[in-house]
């Protein structure tokens, strides 16, 4: 394990597509949740999907950059998000459906930024 904190859970949540999608989300394992903890490197408040880049430091000190795909700014705005919901340097605990191929990334499920939950997309 090269990241600080990983929880793998068999997801039993009766939720719809984790991120509302214009494309297939088959690359994500929607049966699993994984939680990572790190620092926001970049918040891409863009269409068709938002992206959150997170630097996660492993126990060995090596930093791995995760790419988290979320919903669209329009949809998230209706749930109270703005382009300032997070910024580089923020501490973040991110729960995601991980990529099936094991690459560092996933689709957004929920997150806590600087101690404040920002809710489900």
């Amino acid at each position: 394990m090269n990241f600080s904190k990983v929880l793998m859970l068999g997801a039993t949540l009766a939720i719809a597509a984790a991120a509302e999608a214009h494309h297939s989300f088959a690359m994500f394992d929607n049966e699993k949740e994984q939680t990572i903890e790190g620092e926001v490197k970049e918040f891409q408040w863009t269409n068709p999907h938002i992206w959150i880049q997170i630097n996660v430091a492993g126990a060995d000190g090596k930093v791995v950059e995760y790419s988290i795909e979320g919903s669209s700014p329009n949809g998230l705005r209706r749930q109270g998000w703005t382009r300032n919901t997070m910024k580089p340097g923020d501490k973040i605990v991110m729960t995601m459906h991980p990529l099936k191929d094991g690459s560092p990334g996933g689709s957004f499920v929920r997150a806590v930024v600087n101690g404040e939950p920002i809710g489900r997309n």
Partner: protein
């Protein structure tokens, strides 16, 4: 013969009332397609028309082998009908006297349904939204479409469609804030029999605004983009679509 003033006034009133009735009837007919005016969002749930469509064996095998990067949506290909009808993005419906516009928040997509033709056009070019004719059965608007170009999937899950598909939609307001559409897919190329899916859409409150949306602004899922080192779909590993997702 002389008519009294009262008689003449009576005739006049009758004429005025008749004219008003005729014009109200015409207005009702003219405005019939405004029946669905408003902004609507699909109720949350599956982004798939069916969890278990009656695939032919070949279609089942093709579906099982789909890879995320095969999805035309990952390249921002026009959604077309019926995919645009199952996206989670809100859409505005605007009924005019001879057409209905569906303006989706997704990529500013416009689906235009002509309502003043009764026969399919044998010379129509195959298209993303098909060739559509409309008729009413009571308060149900029946939208019958053929001649799709089939350059996209039925839905984001990857259910296929062919140029032979006929789609019949039955649109009905089940209450003033609920639009229900029953979709019947008849596509012998991929399915062993016609099959049906019902989707519901909720009217959004006054003041709800559609936002701007560009599919190509930051499409990191485009597997063809060589300038996109962070593409997450550029794997060649076949990954069957997860079909256990709850409805």
């Amino acid at each position: 013969m002389k008519q009294s003033f009262l008689t003449r006034a009576g005739w006049f009133a009758t004429l005025v009332c008749s004219a008003a009735l005729v014009s109200a009837a015409q207005a009702a007919e003219t405005n019939r397609f405004a029946h669905f005016d408003g902004i609507w969002s699909k109720t949350r749930g599956s982004l798939r028309y069916s969890q278990n469509p009656p695939f032919t064996p070949a279609a089942q095998a093709a579906f099982d082998g789909l890879r995320p990067q095969d999805d035309p949506g990952s390249r921002c290909v026009e959604s077309g009908t019926p995919r645009i009808m199952i996206t989670p993005y809100p859409m505005e419906i605007i009924g005019r006297d001879n057409y209905i516009l569906l303006v989706s928040e997704f990529n500013h997509v416009v689906r235009r349904i002509w309502t003043d033709t009764r026969e399919h056009d044998p010379d129509a070019d195959p298209s993303f939204y098909g060739d559509t004719v409309v008729h009413w059965e009571g308060d149900v608007m029946v939208v019958d479409s053929v001649n799709f170009n089939a350059l996209n999937y039925l839905d984001p899950a990857g259910d296929p469609m062919s140029t032979r598909m006929r789609l019949v939609e039955r649109w009905q307001l089940t209450d003033s804030d609920t639009l229900q559409i029953e979709f019947t897919f008849d596509d012998p190329e991929h399915y062993t029999r016609p099959w049906t899916s019902v989707q519901t859409y909720k009217r959004q409150p006054k003041g709800f605004k559609l936002g701007e949306f560009s599919c190509t602004e930051n499409n990191r899922n485009n597997p063809d983009d060589p300038n996109n080192p962070k593409s997450l779909t550029s794997t060649d590993t076949p990954q069957p679509y997860e079909r256990k997702r709850p409805q």
